[in-house]
Amino acid sequence: MARAAGEIEALIALMARLPGLGPRSARRAVLHMLKKRGMVMEPLSQALARVAQTARDCRVCGNISDEEICPICADEKRATGTLCVVEDVSDLWALERAGGFKGRYHVLGGTLSALESIGPENLRIPQLVERIKAENLREVILALNATVEGQTTAHYIAETLAPTGVSVSALARGLPMGGELDYLDDGTIAAAMAARRAL
């Protein structure tokens, strides 16, 4: 009995570490599942186990999906010659949700940070340079956050890509300072995308 309670507590502690959940909401979620073990908990645990096995980082763009090559990179219609560079998978998903962008993506996986020892080689920037030639890209849109870190990274990439001759643009200002793409509403994202400016 004491052992079972310990396992449940451990589950709550694991849940509480998820973004958007705290100790209280984690407890509520676990209790809900415990009451509906057959209807909710079983299917959820099977889905978690399955996805943990199948989920992959896309070899090309860094998106997360079930395949080695994500559906966006696999879709020939998305080979428009335009590539959108984002900091995180969450930004890619936010842009997809907003719709409107027809090309492919490149996920950096963060921003340059000397303080956190994150350099260009940790950000899939070399892979980006290779994709320019390999995929015959004409335009790169830097959809990075309007933070100091995001803008520094954008500047760095723009300079790194300069010798390739690809045209580089950035999302229009108007994204709030320190605002993260993921939290913006879809209309704002689409407007910023439409009003991008050359770097």
């Binding site: 350099g119 520094t152 500047h155 300072m177 320190g178």
Partner: protein, 362 residues
């Protein structure tokens, strides 16, 4: 046009378990014995502006000790007829959050709604101590006029810290430096312009017939016009030093007692204080002219060090400006010349708990 803190509620903030005070817009007098909790109250108000408040304390120090149950400061302000609710606080072990009208906001939003300026006894040596304190005072003067100044200063600081780390790690990738230096040049340029514009505004707002000595304020800043280029050239030197040697983070504010041509650092302690007071009054006049209201002023123990004539002149100036000033002192007699022009509260302490009580003047 006016700005006033209308209502202040403190919960478990330092020595104040609970305060609910309503202010009617007149200057506010807070008197009480040493240790009663007067400065704590001013500090609470100062936390309704961007930054770490007038003691620059860490959030963990602010909750009532010994129990760590979190703390909260709520202020209702009326600005040019519109009400806003400002709130800041921290749950136990959590970082500080700011809410404006119920929505989580960056701290810079506070500065936009409620410009504020303070003088504390710790600033008595401002003119003779390290430049850092003067820079901070200058930037707070700027913030009243240019609410975007906080964002520029924070952005500059962030980029510089990254650059300093590159210098210390001996990273040589020039593009990384260029990217950070571009951010520093952009934000640093805004900082310098804001500071210059502020000193120009203050110069025009000096009052010749004031009994306070008028300061001539000078921005000592050798930041080159093309900061990006200067930073690029300075990389070698900066690497030796392990930090950035050019830029607005090295600027200084100096003051002359204009009538005597004497640097503030060479004036008497009382004269130095008087120069600070007249700078604050010039700021209030300039802001009044610009946006129609003076800032909120927190004047901690300012009255005690003035002679009768200057004390009366300060009170008259505050009343003329319609500024909501919060003045502290150990006894009510310091504030006699204000009479009914001020609202008076007594601050007292029993067993470590402060209490704030409004007093009716006869």
């Amino acid at each position: 046009m006016s700005l006033r803190l209308h209502r202040l509620t403190l919960s478990r903030f330092r020595s104040h378990p609970r305060v609910e005070a309503v202010f009617d817009g007149r200057p506010v007098v807070l008197h009480g014995a040493n240790g009663a909790g007067k400065t704590n109250l001013l500090e609470a108000i100062s936390l309704l502006s961007p930054g770490r408040g007038l003691r620059r304390a860490a959030s963990e120090e602010l909750g009532a000790q010994p129990a760590d149950l979190g703390w909260k400061i709520e202020g209702e302000i009326a600005r040019n007829g519109t009400l806003h609710e400002l709130e800041t606080g921290a749950a136990p072990g959590q970082s500080r959050v700011v809410r404006i009208d119920g929505k989580t906001s960056p701290q810079s939003g506070l500065g936009r709604l409620m410009p504020m300026l303070w003088l504390t006894p710790a600033m008595d040596r401002l003119w003779i101590e390290a430049a850092e304190g003067r820079r901070r005072f200058l930037d707070r003067l700027v913030l009243g006029f240019e609410p975007d100044h906080a964002e520029a200063a924070v952005g500059y600081e962030k980029a510089m810290r990254q650059r300093n780390k590159l210098l210390r790690d001996n990273v040589t990738d020039p593009r990384w430096y260029t990217a950070l230096e571009a951010r520093m040049a952009e934000t640093g340029g805004v900082m310098t312009l804001n500071r210059q514009a502020t000193l120009a505004r203050l110069a025009t707002a000096q009052s010749a017939d004031s009994p306070f000595p008028q300061p001539e304020l000078i921005l000592a800043d050798d930041t080159p016009a093309d900061l990006a280029e200067a930073l690029a050239e300075s990389r070698g030197r900066d690497r030796q030093a392990g930090r950035t040697l050019v830029g607005p983070h090295r600027a200084d504010l100096s003051a002359l007692w204009a009538a005597r041509g004497r640097p503030a650092a060479q004036c008497s302690t009382g004269e130095q204080k008087a120069l600070l007071i007249s700078t604050v009054l010039a700021h209030a006049r300039a802001l009044q002219a610009m946006v129609g209201h003076a800032p909120i002023l927190l004047l901690d123990e300012v009255a005690a060090h003035l002679d009768d004539a200057r004390r009366a002149a300060l009170y008259d100036a505050l009343c003329d400006l319609g500024a909501q000033a919060f003045l502290t002192g150990t006894g009510p007699e310091l504030f006699t010349p204000l009479g009914n022009r001020a609202q008076t509260f007594r601050v007292s302490e029993t067993a470590g708990d402060s209490q704030v009580t409004e007093e009716d003047l006869p």
